[in-house]
Amino acid sequence: MRVAIRTAIAAAVLLAIYGLGLGVEAGFNEYVQRIVLLAGVNVILAVGLNLINGTTGQFSIGHAGFMAVGAYGAAFVGVKIAPTIHGLLGTGAAADAVVFNLALLAGALFAGISGLIVGMPSLRLRGDYLAVVTLGFGEIIRILFNNATFLGAATGYFGDDPSGLPAYTNFFWVFAWATTIVILIHNLTFSQTGRSLTAIREDEIAAEAMATPTTRLKVTAFAISAATAGIAGGLFAHMQAGVRPEDFRFEKSIDMIVMIIVGGLGSISGAILGGIFVAVSLELMRDLQQYRLVLYALLLVVIMIVRPQGLLGNRELYQLVRRRKATRAEGA
Protein backbone atom coordinates (compact mmCIF):
# COMPACT_ATOMS: atom_id res chain seq x y z
CA MET A 1 0.00 0.00 0.00
CA ARG A 2 2.70 2.36 1.11
CA VAL A 3 4.91 1.41 -1.79
CA ALA A 4 1.98 1.69 -4.19
CA ILE A 5 1.14 5.20 -3.00
CA ARG A 6 4.74 6.28 -3.25
CA THR A 7 5.12 4.82 -6.72
CA ALA A 8 1.98 6.65 -7.81
CA ILE A 9 3.30 9.95 -6.41
CA ALA A 10 6.68 9.42 -8.06
CA ALA A 11 5.03 8.65 -11.39
CA ALA A 12 2.86 11.76 -11.12
CA VAL A 13 5.87 13.95 -10.32
CA LEU A 14 7.91 12.51 -13.19
CA LEU A 15 4.96 13.03 -15.54
CA ALA A 16 4.67 16.64 -14.37
CA ILE A 17 8.39 17.17 -14.99
CA TYR A 18 8.01 15.61 -18.43
CA GLY A 19 5.09 17.88 -19.26
CA LEU A 20 6.88 20.93 -17.95
CA GLY A 21 9.87 19.96 -20.07
CA LEU A 22 7.74 19.81 -23.21
CA GLY A 23 6.38 23.24 -22.31
CA VAL A 24 9.83 24.74 -21.81
CA GLU A 25 11.11 23.22 -25.05
CA ALA A 26 8.13 24.59 -26.99
CA GLY A 27 7.94 27.98 -25.30
CA PHE A 28 11.54 29.16 -25.03
CA ASN A 29 14.51 29.51 -27.35
CA GLU A 30 17.64 27.39 -26.96
CA TYR A 31 19.49 30.09 -25.07
CA VAL A 32 16.89 30.22 -22.30
CA GLN A 33 16.59 26.45 -22.30
CA ARG A 34 20.32 26.13 -21.69
CA ILE A 35 20.12 28.48 -18.70
CA VAL A 36 17.25 26.42 -17.29
CA LEU A 37 19.28 23.22 -17.66
CA LEU A 38 22.31 24.85 -16.05
CA ALA A 39 20.12 26.01 -13.18
CA GLY A 40 18.99 22.40 -12.66
CA VAL A 41 22.58 21.14 -12.69
CA ASN A 42 23.51 23.89 -10.23
CA VAL A 43 20.72 22.85 -7.88
CA ILE A 44 22.21 19.33 -7.77
CA LEU A 45 25.69 20.74 -7.16
CA ALA A 46 24.54 23.14 -4.45
CA VAL A 47 22.38 20.65 -2.56
CA GLY A 48 25.22 18.12 -2.61
CA LEU A 49 27.88 20.60 -1.50
CA ASN A 50 25.60 21.93 1.21
CA LEU A 51 25.50 18.49 2.82
CA ILE A 52 29.20 18.68 3.64
CA ASN A 53 29.86 22.44 3.84
CA GLY A 54 26.56 23.50 5.36
CA THR A 55 25.17 20.61 7.36
CA THR A 56 28.40 18.94 8.47
CA GLY A 57 30.49 22.12 8.60
CA GLN A 58 33.52 20.61 6.85
CA PHE A 59 34.63 22.98 4.13
CA SER A 60 35.32 21.58 0.68
CA ILE A 61 36.66 24.19 -1.75
CA GLY A 62 37.52 21.87 -4.61
CA HIS A 63 34.19 20.33 -5.49
CA ALA A 64 34.71 21.12 -9.18
CA GLY A 65 37.19 18.23 -9.06
CA PHE A 66 34.44 15.73 -8.21
CA MET A 67 32.19 17.26 -10.85
CA ALA A 68 35.03 16.75 -13.35
CA VAL A 69 35.48 13.10 -12.33
CA GLY A 70 31.74 12.57 -12.78
CA ALA A 71 31.68 14.38 -16.13
CA TYR A 72 34.61 12.51 -17.62
CA GLY A 73 33.54 9.24 -16.04
CA ALA A 74 29.98 9.45 -17.36
CA ALA A 75 31.10 10.60 -20.82
CA PHE A 76 33.67 7.83 -21.14
CA VAL A 77 31.46 5.05 -19.80
CA GLY A 78 28.53 6.28 -21.90
CA VAL A 79 30.60 6.14 -25.09
CA LYS A 80 32.01 2.70 -24.27
CA ILE A 81 28.77 0.96 -23.24
CA ALA A 82 26.56 2.52 -25.93
CA PRO A 83 27.36 -0.08 -28.68
CA THR A 84 26.59 -3.02 -26.36
CA ILE A 85 23.36 -1.54 -25.02
CA HIS A 86 22.24 -0.50 -28.49
CA GLY A 87 23.00 -4.01 -29.67
CA LEU A 88 20.75 -5.41 -26.95
CA LEU A 89 17.92 -2.86 -26.95
CA GLY A 90 18.05 -1.29 -30.39
CA THR A 91 18.71 2.40 -30.97
CA GLY A 92 15.50 3.94 -29.68
CA ALA A 93 15.01 6.57 -27.00
CA ALA A 94 14.62 3.88 -24.33
CA ALA A 95 18.05 2.44 -25.10
CA ASP A 96 19.52 5.95 -24.98
CA ALA A 97 17.93 6.51 -21.59
CA VAL A 98 19.47 3.29 -20.28
CA VAL A 99 22.91 4.23 -21.60
CA PHE A 100 22.64 7.74 -20.19
CA ASN A 101 21.52 6.75 -16.71
CA LEU A 102 24.06 3.95 -16.41
CA ALA A 103 26.71 6.46 -17.48
CA LEU A 104 25.52 8.97 -14.88
CA LEU A 105 25.61 6.34 -12.14
CA ALA A 106 29.10 5.31 -13.22
CA GLY A 107 30.21 8.96 -13.03
CA ALA A 108 28.67 9.23 -9.56
CA LEU A 109 30.47 6.05 -8.49
CA PHE A 110 33.84 7.35 -9.71
CA ALA A 111 33.26 10.70 -8.00
CA GLY A 112 32.11 8.99 -4.80
CA ILE A 113 35.21 6.81 -4.71
CA SER A 114 37.41 9.88 -5.25
CA GLY A 115 35.52 11.44 -2.35
CA LEU A 116 36.39 8.46 -0.15
CA ILE A 117 40.05 8.63 -1.14
CA VAL A 118 40.25 12.38 -0.44
CA GLY A 119 38.05 12.29 2.65
CA MET A 120 39.46 9.34 4.54
CA PRO A 121 42.82 10.84 5.46
CA SER A 122 41.73 14.47 5.73
CA LEU A 123 38.52 13.98 7.74
CA ARG A 124 40.15 11.91 10.46
CA LEU A 125 41.40 15.14 11.93
CA ARG A 126 39.45 17.98 13.42
CA GLY A 127 39.85 21.35 11.74
CA ASP A 128 40.19 22.79 8.27
CA TYR A 129 42.37 20.14 6.67
CA LEU A 130 39.61 19.25 4.23
CA ALA A 131 39.73 22.74 2.71
CA VAL A 132 43.44 22.46 1.97
CA VAL A 133 43.22 18.92 0.62
CA THR A 134 40.17 19.57 -1.60
CA LEU A 135 41.79 22.71 -2.99
CA GLY A 136 44.76 20.58 -4.02
CA PHE A 137 42.55 17.77 -5.30
CA GLY A 138 40.56 20.09 -7.57
CA GLU A 139 43.73 21.31 -9.24
CA ILE A 140 45.38 17.89 -9.46
CA ILE A 141 42.33 16.36 -11.12
CA ARG A 142 42.13 19.14 -13.69
CA ILE A 143 45.82 18.79 -14.52
CA LEU A 144 45.46 15.00 -14.77
CA PHE A 145 42.63 15.38 -17.30
CA ASN A 146 44.66 18.03 -19.07
CA ASN A 147 47.37 15.43 -19.69
CA ALA A 148 45.34 12.25 -20.12
CA THR A 149 45.69 11.59 -23.85
CA PHE A 150 43.06 8.80 -23.90
CA LEU A 151 40.59 11.47 -22.67
CA GLY A 152 41.64 14.03 -25.26
CA ALA A 153 44.06 15.91 -22.98
CA ALA A 154 43.69 19.71 -23.15
CA THR A 155 41.27 19.60 -26.12
CA GLY A 156 38.77 17.69 -24.04
CA TYR A 157 36.95 14.38 -24.44
CA PHE A 158 34.51 14.22 -27.32
CA GLY A 159 33.95 10.47 -27.53
CA ASP A 160 34.70 8.24 -30.50
CA ASP A 161 32.16 9.84 -32.84
CA PRO A 162 33.27 12.92 -34.84
CA SER A 163 30.03 14.73 -33.94
CA GLY A 164 31.01 14.63 -30.27
CA LEU A 165 29.17 13.28 -27.23
CA PRO A 166 25.48 12.53 -27.68
CA ALA A 167 23.29 15.33 -26.26
CA TYR A 168 21.36 13.09 -23.86
CA THR A 169 20.76 15.83 -21.31
CA ASN A 170 17.33 17.41 -21.52
CA PHE A 171 14.87 19.09 -19.19
CA PHE A 172 13.31 15.82 -18.05
CA TRP A 173 16.53 14.09 -17.00
CA VAL A 174 18.01 17.15 -15.31
CA PHE A 175 14.94 17.84 -13.21
CA ALA A 176 14.11 14.20 -12.56
CA TRP A 177 17.60 13.79 -11.11
CA ALA A 178 17.49 17.13 -9.31
CA THR A 179 14.15 16.26 -7.67
CA THR A 180 15.35 12.80 -6.68
CA ILE A 181 18.58 14.12 -5.19
CA VAL A 182 16.87 16.96 -3.33
CA ILE A 183 14.41 14.49 -1.78
CA LEU A 184 17.08 11.94 -0.83
CA ILE A 185 19.39 14.53 0.70
CA HIS A 186 16.50 16.24 2.47
CA ASN A 187 15.46 12.91 4.01
CA LEU A 188 19.02 12.19 5.03
CA THR A 189 19.40 15.63 6.63
CA PHE A 190 16.24 15.17 8.69
CA SER A 191 17.20 11.82 10.17
CA GLN A 192 19.45 10.57 12.96
CA THR A 193 22.38 10.67 10.52
CA GLY A 194 21.59 14.28 9.63
CA ARG A 195 21.26 15.25 13.28
CA SER A 196 24.62 13.66 13.98
CA LEU A 197 26.19 15.55 11.07
CA THR A 198 24.76 18.83 12.37
CA ALA A 199 26.04 17.96 15.84
CA ILE A 200 29.52 17.51 14.38
CA ARG A 201 29.26 20.99 12.87
CA GLU A 202 28.00 22.50 16.11
CA ASP A 203 30.55 20.91 18.44
CA GLU A 204 32.66 17.99 17.36
CA ILE A 205 34.04 17.27 20.84
CA ALA A 206 30.56 17.10 22.34
CA ALA A 207 29.33 14.98 19.41
CA GLU A 208 32.13 12.52 20.08
CA ALA A 209 31.34 12.47 23.79
CA MET A 210 27.79 11.46 22.79
CA ALA A 211 29.12 8.32 21.02
CA THR A 212 28.80 9.80 17.52
CA PRO A 213 31.13 7.98 15.10
CA THR A 214 32.38 11.31 13.79
CA THR A 215 35.01 10.18 11.29
CA ARG A 216 32.80 7.56 9.67
CA LEU A 217 29.90 10.01 9.33
CA LYS A 218 32.04 12.83 7.96
CA VAL A 219 33.61 10.55 5.34
CA THR A 220 30.20 9.12 4.37
CA ALA A 221 28.66 12.57 4.00
CA PHE A 222 31.64 13.71 1.96
CA ALA A 223 31.43 10.70 -0.37
CA ILE A 224 27.69 11.28 -0.89
CA SER A 225 28.40 14.94 -1.60
CA ALA A 226 31.12 13.99 -4.11
CA ALA A 227 28.87 11.43 -5.81
CA THR A 228 26.16 14.10 -6.15
CA ALA A 229 28.64 16.44 -7.81
CA GLY A 230 29.48 13.48 -10.10
CA ILE A 231 25.84 13.22 -11.24
CA ALA A 232 25.82 16.95 -11.93
CA GLY A 233 29.06 16.53 -13.89
CA GLY A 234 27.56 13.73 -16.01
CA LEU A 235 24.49 15.83 -16.82
CA PHE A 236 26.71 18.80 -17.64
CA ALA A 237 28.93 16.68 -19.90
CA HIS A 238 26.01 15.57 -22.06
CA MET A 239 24.73 19.14 -22.52
CA GLN A 240 27.53 19.84 -25.00
CA ALA A 241 29.67 18.05 -27.53
CA GLY A 242 32.49 17.38 -25.08
CA VAL A 243 34.03 17.85 -21.66
CA ARG A 244 37.10 20.04 -21.34
CA PRO A 245 39.46 20.40 -18.36
CA GLU A 246 38.92 24.16 -18.35
CA ASP A 247 35.23 23.68 -17.50
CA PHE A 248 36.32 22.61 -14.02
CA ARG A 249 38.70 25.33 -12.93
CA PHE A 250 38.88 26.71 -9.42
CA GLU A 251 36.24 29.32 -10.38
CA LYS A 252 33.72 26.48 -10.73
CA SER A 253 34.33 25.47 -7.10
CA ILE A 254 33.92 29.10 -6.08
CA ASP A 255 30.63 29.31 -8.01
CA MET A 256 29.37 26.35 -5.97
CA ILE A 257 30.40 27.95 -2.70
CA VAL A 258 28.63 31.17 -3.73
CA MET A 259 25.46 29.14 -4.36
CA ILE A 260 25.33 27.78 -0.84
CA ILE A 261 26.49 30.94 0.94
CA VAL A 262 23.94 33.13 -0.84
CA GLY A 263 21.14 30.70 0.03
CA GLY A 264 22.29 30.13 3.58
CA LEU A 265 24.70 27.40 4.69
CA GLY A 266 22.84 24.38 6.01
CA SER A 267 19.58 25.12 4.22
CA ILE A 268 18.49 22.85 1.38
CA SER A 269 15.93 25.33 0.08
CA GLY A 270 18.64 27.98 0.29
CA ALA A 271 20.96 25.82 -1.81
CA ILE A 272 18.22 25.42 -4.44
CA LEU A 273 17.70 29.18 -4.62
CA GLY A 274 21.46 29.77 -4.65
CA GLY A 275 21.94 27.33 -7.53
CA ILE A 276 19.32 29.10 -9.62
CA PHE A 277 20.73 32.50 -8.62
CA VAL A 278 24.22 31.62 -9.84
CA ALA A 279 22.98 30.20 -13.16
CA VAL A 280 21.00 33.36 -13.90
CA SER A 281 23.55 35.86 -12.59
CA LEU A 282 26.38 34.20 -14.56
CA GLU A 283 24.38 34.83 -17.74
CA LEU A 284 23.60 38.41 -16.78
CA MET A 285 27.30 39.03 -16.09
CA ARG A 286 28.56 37.21 -19.17
CA ASP A 287 29.84 40.45 -20.77
CA LEU A 288 31.96 41.20 -17.73
CA GLN A 289 34.03 38.03 -18.29
CA GLN A 290 36.59 37.52 -15.54
CA TYR A 291 35.46 40.65 -13.70
CA ARG A 292 32.46 38.71 -12.50
CA LEU A 293 34.77 37.16 -9.92
CA VAL A 294 35.36 40.62 -8.50
CA LEU A 295 31.60 41.13 -8.36
CA TYR A 296 31.16 37.78 -6.63
CA ALA A 297 33.81 38.65 -4.08
CA LEU A 298 32.03 41.94 -3.40
CA LEU A 299 28.71 40.15 -3.14
CA LEU A 300 30.15 37.71 -0.59
CA VAL A 301 31.58 40.57 1.47
CA VAL A 302 28.23 42.36 1.42
CA ILE A 303 26.39 39.17 2.44
CA MET A 304 28.86 38.59 5.29
CA ILE A 305 28.20 42.11 6.58
CA VAL A 306 24.47 42.40 6.00
CA ARG A 307 23.24 38.83 6.39
CA PRO A 308 26.02 36.47 7.45
CA GLN A 309 23.64 33.54 7.74
CA GLY A 310 22.67 33.84 4.03
CA LEU A 311 19.20 34.24 2.58
CA LEU A 312 17.53 31.59 4.71
CA GLY A 313 20.05 30.95 7.47
CA ASN A 314 20.15 27.25 8.28
CA ARG A 315 16.37 26.90 8.16
CA GLU A 316 14.22 25.52 5.39
CA LEU A 317 11.74 27.65 3.51
CA TYR A 318 8.74 25.72 4.87
CA GLN A 319 10.06 26.06 8.43
CA LEU A 320 10.18 29.84 8.05
CA VAL A 321 6.63 29.93 6.76
CA ARG A 322 5.45 27.70 9.62
CA ARG A 323 7.25 29.86 12.18
CA ARG A 324 5.73 33.04 10.81
CA LYS A 325 2.27 31.48 11.02
CA ALA A 326 2.97 30.38 14.59
CA THR A 327 4.05 33.84 15.73
CA ARG A 328 1.07 35.42 14.02
CA ALA A 329 -1.24 33.00 15.83
CA GLU A 330 0.43 33.87 19.13
CA GLY A 331 0.03 37.59 18.47
CA ALA A 332 -3.66 37.26 17.67
Binding site: R2, L184, I185, N187, L188, S191, Q192, T193, G194, R195, S196, T198, A199, E202, D203, I205, A206, A207, E208, A209, M210, A211, T212, P213, T214, T220, I224, G266, N314
Partner: protein, 260 residues
Protein backbone atom coordinates in the same frame (compact mmCIF):
# COMPACT_ATOMS: atom_id res chain seq x y z
CA UNK B 1 31.04 -3.36 43.56
CA UNK B 2 33.49 -0.95 41.96
CA UNK B 3 32.27 0.60 38.70
CA UNK B 4 35.21 2.87 37.97
CA UNK B 5 38.75 2.60 39.21
CA UNK B 6 41.70 4.85 38.46
CA UNK B 7 45.12 3.32 39.13
CA UNK B 8 48.06 5.71 39.41
CA UNK B 9 46.98 7.88 36.48
CA UNK B 10 49.43 10.49 35.16
CA UNK B 11 48.72 13.21 32.62
CA UNK B 12 51.48 15.54 31.49
CA UNK B 13 51.21 18.58 29.19
CA UNK B 14 54.76 19.55 28.23
CA UNK B 15 56.30 20.68 31.49
CA UNK B 16 53.02 20.66 33.39
CA UNK B 17 52.23 17.58 35.42
CA UNK B 18 48.46 18.12 35.41
CA UNK B 19 47.59 14.81 37.08
CA UNK B 20 50.13 12.91 39.19
CA UNK B 21 49.56 9.32 40.23
CA UNK B 22 45.89 9.73 41.08
CA UNK B 23 44.01 6.61 42.18
CA UNK B 24 40.45 6.25 43.36
CA UNK B 25 37.54 3.84 43.25
CA UNK B 26 33.92 4.71 42.62
CA UNK B 27 31.30 2.30 43.92
CA UNK B 28 28.40 1.42 41.65
CA UNK B 29 25.33 3.41 42.61
CA UNK B 30 27.22 6.03 44.60
CA UNK B 31 27.50 9.78 44.22
CA UNK B 32 31.17 10.63 44.24
CA UNK B 33 32.54 14.16 44.61
CA UNK B 34 35.77 15.34 43.01
CA UNK B 35 36.85 18.69 44.39
CA UNK B 36 39.90 20.88 44.60
CA UNK B 37 40.96 24.48 44.05
CA UNK B 38 41.02 26.00 40.54
CA UNK B 39 43.58 24.32 38.29
CA UNK B 40 43.82 21.26 40.53
CA UNK B 41 43.26 18.90 37.57
CA UNK B 42 39.61 17.94 38.08
CA UNK B 43 38.50 18.62 34.52
CA UNK B 44 41.70 17.01 33.22
CA UNK B 45 40.71 13.88 35.13
CA UNK B 46 37.27 13.97 33.46
CA UNK B 47 38.96 14.34 30.07
CA UNK B 48 41.23 11.41 30.79
CA UNK B 49 38.33 9.21 31.90
CA UNK B 50 36.24 10.09 28.83
CA UNK B 51 39.07 9.61 26.33
CA UNK B 52 39.58 13.24 25.31
CA UNK B 53 43.14 12.82 26.67
CA UNK B 54 45.23 9.66 26.80
CA UNK B 55 46.99 9.29 30.15
CA UNK B 56 50.78 8.96 30.09
CA UNK B 57 50.63 6.27 32.73
CA UNK B 58 48.14 4.30 34.74
CA UNK B 59 44.96 2.36 34.13
CA UNK B 60 41.33 3.38 34.04
CA UNK B 61 39.08 0.42 34.69
CA UNK B 62 35.42 0.82 33.81
CA UNK B 63 33.33 -2.21 34.77
CA UNK B 64 36.59 -4.12 35.05
CA UNK B 65 37.99 -3.24 31.61
CA UNK B 66 40.81 -0.80 30.90
CA UNK B 67 39.43 2.09 28.84
CA UNK B 68 42.52 4.34 28.98
CA UNK B 69 43.32 5.68 25.51
CA UNK B 70 40.11 4.53 23.78
CA UNK B 71 38.38 7.07 21.52
CA UNK B 72 35.76 9.22 23.29
CA UNK B 73 32.93 7.84 21.15
CA UNK B 74 33.78 4.27 22.17
CA UNK B 75 33.97 5.12 25.85
CA UNK B 76 30.64 6.95 25.60
CA UNK B 77 29.08 3.97 23.84
CA UNK B 78 30.24 1.72 26.71
CA UNK B 79 28.18 3.79 29.11
CA UNK B 80 30.16 6.81 30.29
CA UNK B 81 28.23 10.06 29.79
CA UNK B 82 29.45 13.52 30.69
CA UNK B 83 28.61 17.19 30.76
CA UNK B 84 31.07 19.99 30.13
CA UNK B 85 32.29 22.76 32.39
CA UNK B 86 31.76 25.41 29.72
CA UNK B 87 28.51 24.06 28.26
CA UNK B 88 28.83 22.35 24.90
CA UNK B 89 25.30 21.93 23.62
CA UNK B 90 24.50 21.92 19.89
CA UNK B 91 23.31 25.50 19.88
CA UNK B 92 21.58 25.71 16.50
CA UNK B 93 19.58 22.52 17.06
CA UNK B 94 16.36 22.22 19.00
CA UNK B 95 16.32 20.94 22.58
CA UNK B 96 14.78 17.62 21.52
CA UNK B 97 17.28 17.18 18.66
CA UNK B 98 20.17 17.78 21.07
CA UNK B 99 19.02 14.86 23.17
CA UNK B 100 18.20 12.60 20.21
CA UNK B 101 21.77 12.90 18.87
CA UNK B 102 23.02 10.72 21.73
CA UNK B 103 20.55 7.91 21.03
CA UNK B 104 22.75 5.73 18.86
CA UNK B 105 21.77 2.53 20.60
CA UNK B 106 18.11 3.19 19.73
CA UNK B 107 18.99 3.64 16.11
CA UNK B 108 19.35 0.81 13.61
CA UNK B 109 18.22 2.38 10.33
CA UNK B 110 20.86 2.61 7.62
CA UNK B 111 21.51 5.73 5.57
CA UNK B 112 19.47 4.18 2.78
CA UNK B 113 16.58 3.60 5.21
CA UNK B 114 16.69 7.29 6.11
CA UNK B 115 16.90 8.45 2.50
CA UNK B 116 13.92 6.31 1.50
CA UNK B 117 11.98 6.88 4.73
CA UNK B 118 11.36 3.19 5.31
CA UNK B 119 9.39 1.75 8.20
CA UNK B 120 12.61 1.09 10.07
CA UNK B 121 13.47 4.78 9.82
CA UNK B 122 10.07 5.73 11.19
CA UNK B 123 10.29 3.24 14.05
CA UNK B 124 13.70 4.66 14.97
CA UNK B 125 12.49 8.24 14.89
CA UNK B 126 9.58 7.35 17.13
CA UNK B 127 11.75 5.48 19.63
CA UNK B 128 14.28 8.33 19.70
CA UNK B 129 11.80 11.13 20.20
CA UNK B 130 9.84 9.15 22.80
CA UNK B 131 12.97 8.51 24.88
CA UNK B 132 14.13 12.11 24.45
CA UNK B 133 10.78 13.35 25.69
CA UNK B 134 10.96 11.12 28.77
CA UNK B 135 14.38 12.44 29.67
CA UNK B 136 13.40 16.06 29.08
CA UNK B 137 10.45 15.38 31.36
CA UNK B 138 12.77 14.17 34.13
CA UNK B 139 14.90 17.31 33.89
CA UNK B 140 11.93 19.63 33.63
CA UNK B 141 12.61 20.69 30.04
CA UNK B 142 9.69 19.03 28.27
CA UNK B 143 7.97 22.33 27.53
CA UNK B 144 11.09 23.61 25.78
CA UNK B 145 11.54 20.58 23.48
CA UNK B 146 10.98 22.58 20.29
CA UNK B 147 13.08 25.61 21.25
CA UNK B 148 16.49 26.33 19.73
CA UNK B 149 18.95 25.13 22.38
CA UNK B 150 21.20 28.20 22.15
CA UNK B 151 18.32 30.44 23.19
CA UNK B 152 17.74 28.69 26.54
CA UNK B 153 18.79 30.33 29.81
CA UNK B 154 22.05 29.14 31.30
CA UNK B 155 20.62 26.82 33.95
CA UNK B 156 18.36 25.10 31.41
CA UNK B 157 21.33 24.58 29.08
CA UNK B 158 23.15 22.78 31.90
CA UNK B 159 20.16 20.55 32.52
CA UNK B 160 19.87 19.93 28.78
CA UNK B 161 23.45 18.63 28.81
CA UNK B 162 22.48 16.17 31.52
CA UNK B 163 19.41 15.03 29.56
CA UNK B 164 21.59 14.55 26.48
CA UNK B 165 24.09 12.50 28.47
CA UNK B 166 21.30 10.32 29.85
CA UNK B 167 20.21 9.52 26.30
CA UNK B 168 23.30 7.29 26.06
CA UNK B 169 21.67 5.09 28.74
CA UNK B 170 24.91 5.36 30.67
CA UNK B 171 25.99 3.58 33.83
CA UNK B 172 28.29 6.38 34.85
CA UNK B 173 27.52 10.09 34.60
CA UNK B 174 30.27 12.68 34.96
CA UNK B 175 28.98 16.13 35.84
CA UNK B 176 31.46 18.99 35.44
CA UNK B 177 30.31 21.89 37.61
CA UNK B 178 26.58 21.40 37.00
CA UNK B 179 25.65 24.05 39.58
CA UNK B 180 27.89 26.78 38.12
CA UNK B 181 25.88 29.94 37.56
CA UNK B 182 22.81 28.57 39.33
CA UNK B 183 21.15 30.38 42.23
CA UNK B 184 20.59 28.53 45.49
CA UNK B 185 17.08 27.49 44.57
CA UNK B 186 18.17 26.09 41.22
CA UNK B 187 21.05 24.33 42.99
CA UNK B 188 18.55 22.78 45.39
CA UNK B 189 16.51 21.44 42.47
CA UNK B 190 19.72 20.10 40.95
CA UNK B 191 20.49 18.23 44.19
CA UNK B 192 17.13 16.55 43.98
CA UNK B 193 17.60 15.71 40.31
CA UNK B 194 21.02 14.15 40.92
CA UNK B 195 19.56 12.01 43.71
CA UNK B 196 16.67 11.06 41.45
CA UNK B 197 19.11 9.87 38.75
CA UNK B 198 20.85 7.64 41.25
CA UNK B 199 17.80 6.34 43.08
CA UNK B 200 15.42 5.92 40.14
CA UNK B 201 17.74 5.28 37.19
CA UNK B 202 20.45 3.47 39.15
CA UNK B 203 23.20 5.74 37.87
CA UNK B 204 26.62 6.23 39.38
CA UNK B 205 27.52 9.91 39.46
CA UNK B 206 30.87 11.68 39.68
CA UNK B 207 30.52 15.34 40.45
CA UNK B 208 33.09 18.09 39.98
CA UNK B 209 31.69 21.11 41.76
CA UNK B 210 32.76 24.27 43.52
CA UNK B 211 29.40 24.84 45.16
CA UNK B 212 30.06 23.22 48.55
CA UNK B 213 26.37 23.30 49.48
CA UNK B 214 25.78 20.88 46.59
CA UNK B 215 28.88 18.72 47.11
CA UNK B 216 28.56 18.26 50.86
CA UNK B 217 24.83 17.68 50.60
CA UNK B 218 24.69 15.13 47.83
CA UNK B 219 28.00 13.24 47.78
CA UNK B 220 28.67 10.13 49.81
CA UNK B 221 32.39 10.12 49.24
CA UNK B 222 34.64 13.00 48.26
CA UNK B 223 38.07 12.90 46.65
CA UNK B 224 40.19 16.05 46.92
CA UNK B 225 42.98 16.92 44.49
CA UNK B 226 45.38 19.85 44.48
CA UNK B 227 48.14 20.51 41.95
CA UNK B 228 47.24 17.24 40.26
CA UNK B 229 47.75 15.12 43.37
CA UNK B 230 45.38 13.45 45.77
CA UNK B 231 45.37 15.15 49.16
CA UNK B 232 42.39 13.56 50.85
CA UNK B 233 39.45 11.23 50.45
CA UNK B 234 36.56 10.55 52.76
CA UNK B 235 33.00 11.31 53.81
CA UNK B 236 31.79 14.93 53.61
CA UNK B 237 32.16 15.45 57.38
CA UNK B 238 35.74 14.14 57.31
CA UNK B 239 36.66 16.32 54.33
CA UNK B 240 35.25 19.45 55.98
CA UNK B 241 37.59 18.93 58.92
CA UNK B 242 40.63 17.66 57.02
CA UNK B 243 43.66 19.93 57.68
CA UNK B 244 45.18 19.44 54.20
CA UNK B 245 41.88 20.33 52.52
CA UNK B 246 41.51 23.44 54.62
CA UNK B 247 45.09 24.37 53.78
CA UNK B 248 44.53 23.88 50.06
CA UNK B 249 41.39 26.01 50.05
CA UNK B 250 42.35 28.66 52.59
CA UNK B 251 46.15 28.66 52.30
CA UNK B 252 48.61 27.31 54.84
CA UNK B 253 49.39 29.07 58.03
CA UNK B 254 53.02 29.59 57.08
CA UNK B 255 51.94 31.29 53.85
CA UNK B 256 49.45 33.43 55.71
CA UNK B 257 52.15 34.64 58.01
CA UNK B 258 54.46 35.37 55.14
CA UNK B 259 51.75 37.43 53.42
CA UNK B 260 50.79 39.31 56.56
Amino acid sequence: MTLLELRKVDKIFGGLHAVRSVSFQVEKGSIFGLIGPNGAGKTTLFNVITGVYTPEQGEILFAGKNIAGLRPALIAARGVARTFQNIRIFRAMTVAENVMVAGHHLHSASILDSMLRTRRYEADEQALSKRARELLEILGLADLAGEIAGSLPYGSQRRLEIARGLMLSPELLLLDEPAAGMNSQEAQTLNEQIRFLRDQLGLTVILVEHNMAVVMNVCEKIHVVDHGETIAEGKPAEIKAHPKVLAAYLGEEAENEAVS
